[in-house]
């Protein structure tokens, strides 16, 4: 039973990887979100908020990390605290990264984001006290990994080549959209998690689920490192 569940979870994680939406360059015309951003000028608050929310909701790496973070959080107060820490982290590097033009290799940042997924899953499995004899501060880790997630967002926005006109306003709108998307995704995750927690299967399969999350994180790292060293994309 446990094996079947983890197989399903690993499979769905892999499917997410394959089905990930991308803006493929079609000939010499830039299409999709990137094409839209390059075709417009000036301040467009709601469209950029939409793009931010879309990025979060379709960003399976961010969602996996969030799932790991709230996996064993039961009280709404705790969920609020951790999600806020994550939001403060990624907002900071998103805004500063784009304004300062910090262009980090997107494969490396995304590999670190994959690492954050693995880290959190191991944390949920209780690996740190068992193997290293101490429990790292989960709040600090959430904040620090939030900074890396923001760096990943910033790298993608720099790739959009947004016009300088209205950059700050559009950027803030994008960031607000990211938070809206996070709340939407989190709500959906919490609804499913809450029901699952009420069943007996939760505690029986919690370890398997975190192993599956970890496997997805490892897949993310491998995928990104292959891209980095292979130069694909």
């Amino acid at each position: 039973m446990t094996r079947r569940l983890s197989a399903i979870l690993v499979l769905s994680a892999l499917l997410l990887l394959v089905a990930a939406p991308t803006d493929l360059p079609a000939h010499d015309v830039t299409t999709g979100d990137r094409g839209y951003i390059q075709a417009i000028l000036g301040v467009h608050l709601i469209p950029f908020a939409y793009l931010g929310a879309k990025h979060m909701v379709t960003g399976y790496d961010h969602l996996l990390f969030l799932l790991g973070v709230i996996f064993f959080l039961y009280r709404l107060k705790d969920i609020g605290l951790y999600v806020t820490l994550f939001a403060v982290g990624h907002s900071t590097t998103l805004l500063v990264g784009v304004v300062a033009g910090v262009g980090v290799n997107s494969h490396l940042v995304d590999a670190i984001i994959g690492l954050s997924v693995v880290y959190k899953a191991l944390d949920n499995l209780g690996a740190y006290p068992r193997f290293f004899g101490f429990q790292p501060d989960a709040r600090a880790a959430t904040l620090v990994f939030g900074l890396f997630h923001g760096l990943g967002l910033a790298t993608k926005i720099i790739d959009f080549e947004m016009a300088n006109e209205g950059l700050i306003a559009n950027l803030v709108a994008f960031n607000v959209g990211v938070e809206i998307g996070q709340v939407l995704a989190l709500s959906a995750i919490l609804v499913v998690m809450t029901h699952w927690r009420q069943t007996r299967s939760f505690l029986r399969h919690a370890a398997a689920a975190n192993i599956a999350i970890m496997a997805a994180g490892v897949a993310l790292i491998a995928f990104q490192l292959a891209g980095f060293f292979g130069g694909a994309g």
Binding site: A26, V29, D33, Y36, V191
Partner: protein
């Protein structure tokens, strides 16, 4: 259990129809997309996708007949959105007697256009003008050193996307709001 899952499902469907459909495909059955400025995004994406498909079809239908940039020639393909009642301008930095082949088309409506050149010494000179035009192509011969290019005006109620392709002798393509 059933209730909260049903709420999630309903919210998801509402978001998909009212927000995602207009923003990604320019389809706006509820009118919410237009209110939020998201339908415009979908229309631009659709126009760009159609343009990309048209380019790809043209390339595969007539291999080798498309003018390729020669030595020192520049090539650009870009789009600009012209909001209702406004103008947008794209200019090429060109030397006198320089030659550029161009083609542009408007998606979402008709535009008024003015092909012209400007320079500090000569001032403004119009090469060609038109009203209610869907597309145009031809050769732009710069009469003097300076900026030469197109101004499009949108007199309609909806935004129009103008896609421009240029090939020839120029230094830089500049976008003027």
């Amino acid at each position: 259990m059933i209730r909260s899952l049903a709420i999630v499902l309903v919210v998801g469907v509402v978001i998909a129809i009212a927000i995602v459909l207009p923003a990604e495909y320019g389809r706006d059955p509820t009118g919410v997309g237009r209110m939020l400025g998201l339908r415009e995004m979908g229309e631009i994406k659709a126009a760009l996708a159609a343009e990309a498909a048209a380019h790809a079809a043209a390339d595969s239908a007539m291999p080798g007949t498309l003018a390729r940039p020669g030595a020192g020639a520049m090539f650009d393909s870009t789009s600009v959105i012209v909001p209702p009642g406004q103008t947008r301008t794209l200019m090429l930095e060109m030397a006198g007697d320089a030659r550029v082949d161009y083609r542009w088309s408007a998606a979402g409506g008709m535009v008024n256009h003015d092909l012209h050149g400007v320079s500090p010494t000569v001032g403004y000179r119009s090469y060609a003008k038109g009203t209610g035009v869907k597309s145009d192509s031809g050769v732009l011969l710069a009469a003097f050193n300076g900026q030469h290019g197109w101004t499009w005006r949108n007199g309609a109620a909806d935004s129009i996307v103008v896609s421009l392709r240029v090939i020839g002798q120029y230094d830089e393509l500049k976008r003027r709001p």
